[in-house]
Amino acid sequence: MKLAIRLNKKVNRSWQVDALLFLALAGFGAFMAIPLIYVINNAFKPLDELFIFPPTLFVRNATLENFANLFQVMKNSWVPFSRYIFNTVFITAAGTAGHILLASAAAYPLAKHKFRGSKVLFTVVVLSLMFSPHVTAIPNYMIMSALGWMDSYQAVIVPAFAYPLGLYLMKQFMEQIPDALLEAAKIDGASEYRIFWQVVMPLVKPAWLTLLILMMQMLWGTDGGSFIYSEQLKTLHYAMGQIIQGGIARAGVGAAVAVIMMTVPIVTFILSQSNVIQTMASSGMKD
């Protein structure tokens, strides 16, 4: 307990409540972690261990068989497994990059300048945080087909560029940049574009690393929605769904896909954790 608690607080705190609160924290931590631990272990279980009764949490004789099987199963399928991986990586990379670029470009004028319409535009973006994409799914489908974008990468990638959360977080973070810095750049003769690209963007690195995490997580987990129907364009998430539909016989293989799926976003988060926290500190809505 001693390592955990800062003791320099001036107010009274009873150690009983401390103990209780941290027990609760540990308990919920276990609840959060166990399913993930279970799936990771399942991915390494040989076939006989997957079917023992009672089921076990931890693997005894770890094997890479499931991963090998995954590629075996997928090699014989109509579309090679590498294609699903490529689709997911491509959609994630393009969507995330475009979102960071466009959302930052739009956030800079909203955060650092007053101009006609700026208030209205930002209010609309904040309001749109308040409804989920489900509300707009059907009209979006019609817009996509009117644009002739059905069954293409851009149907998933381009709408991701204009996701409201990114603009919101970027704008809140950019507001902390001192005006004096931007004025100095202006006096030196820099254009707005140059100020945005060479002064503002390097300063808001934590914010775009955060967008990187959030967008990546969203796009990495996409199944292409209702926009993509040809097998060649389907994503890893969709392929995972197909494998899991296969039932218990493929439980180990399913777990192997899941481990591949979850590794990428989790590793990225670990690498950029402090930046994410820094950005979120400015995420508040003022009343």
Binding site: L50, P55, L121, P139, V276
Partner: protein, 306 residues
């Protein structure tokens, strides 16, 4: 405004726009896409909700008919509303409080442990829809980890059909939703806590703050009200739109509509029956509910620490 005043206004307007043209250029690409894929769909959806539209014939204006059918003659929709409300009150509220409570507890830890616990709590929500693990955990046969455990302990003798039985369905989906829900708002709270001015606590102690609960209510919560607002918006929106987990775990449609929600109803009419006008009315009702509950909760949050 007099005619000359109006002319002056427009002249000024034009001048401002010309001066700020670079700003509009920076803004344009995002805003065009935002209007096209977010604002326009909402407008279309509201308009379609007053029509009969099946994607084959031209939409036909029918006024409030969709709404009256939806609210008075659609029992399944009412089941969906009931389930959604149970979800958002239980999951949304519990998860919001849990997000704050865990962030608050984690904030007391030393930096290394704090980073580790943040990862543990945040990992499920970013791990790319791996909530299907719960399908294996609550699997209906004895290989399911819960069934296996309970049979081993002798609590039950026959495996329970967790995800097919309406008795358990809703509870399990809530549990999984809770597991998934410590996301963006959780991070916002952790970050918000780190920005609270430390000297306020000392000042509070001098002013007679006696215990940690008073400290929490009078100092910590008011200091991070902006983050609390942001978190509330994210949580309310997510909890009213619950559907993906329900459809993945309980199937679609679920047995006796046990896990039916507003969004699954929307999916049913929109993508299976192609009654677009009706589906748009469902979307509009959901939209109004989200907006309404956000405004109410924001009003409530302003009272924190009073």
């Amino acid at each position: 405004m007099s005619p000359s005043g109006l002319r002056n206004y427009w002249a000024l307007f034009g001048k401002d726009v010309r001066r700020d043209k670079h700003l509009y250029v920076l803004l344009a690409p995002y805003m065009v896409l935002f209007l096209l894929f977010t604002v326009l769909p909402v407008v279309i959806s509201i308009i379609f909700s007053f029509t009969h539209f099946n994607m084959l014939e031209m939409p036909r204006w029918i006024g409030w008919e969709n709404y009256s059918k939806l609210l008075w003659n659609d029992d399944v929709f009412l089941i969906g509303v009931k389930n959604t409300l149970i979800f958002s009150v239980v999951t949304g509220l519990v998860s919001y409080i849990a997000c704050f409570l865990f962030a608050w507890l984690i904030n007391e830890l030393n930096p290394k442990l704090r980073a580790f616990m943040t990862l543990i709590f945040f990992a499920p929500s970013i791990s790319g829809n791996v909530f299907f693990i719960w399908q294996i955990i609550f699997s209906s046969d004895s290989y399911g980890i819960i069934n296996g455990l309970l049979m081993q302990l002798g609590v039950i003798y026959e495996p329970i059909q967790w995800l097919q039985d309406p008795k358990y369905m809703l509870g399990i989906i809530m549990l999984v939703q809770l597991w998934l829900s410590l996301g963006t708002s959780f991070l916002a709270f952790i970050a918000g806590l780190q920005t609270v001015d430390k000297t306020l606590y000392e000042a509070g102690a001098v002013d007679g703050v006696k215990n940690r609960w008073q400290e929490l209510w009078f100092i910590t919560l008011p200091s991070m009200r902006p983050q609390l607002m942001f978190g509330a918006v994210i949580q309310i929106t997510a909890s009213l739109a619950v559907a993906d987990v329900a459809m993945a775990l309980a199937g679609f449609p679920s047995v006796q509509y046990g896990a039916h929600t507003i969004v699954t109803h929307l999916v049913d009419y929109g993508t299976i029956r192609f009654e677009m006008g009706y589906a748009s009315a469902i979307a509009t009702v959901l939209f109004v509910m989200m907006l309404g509950s956000n405004l109410i909760v924001q009003k409530l949050l302003k009272r924190v620490g009073e």
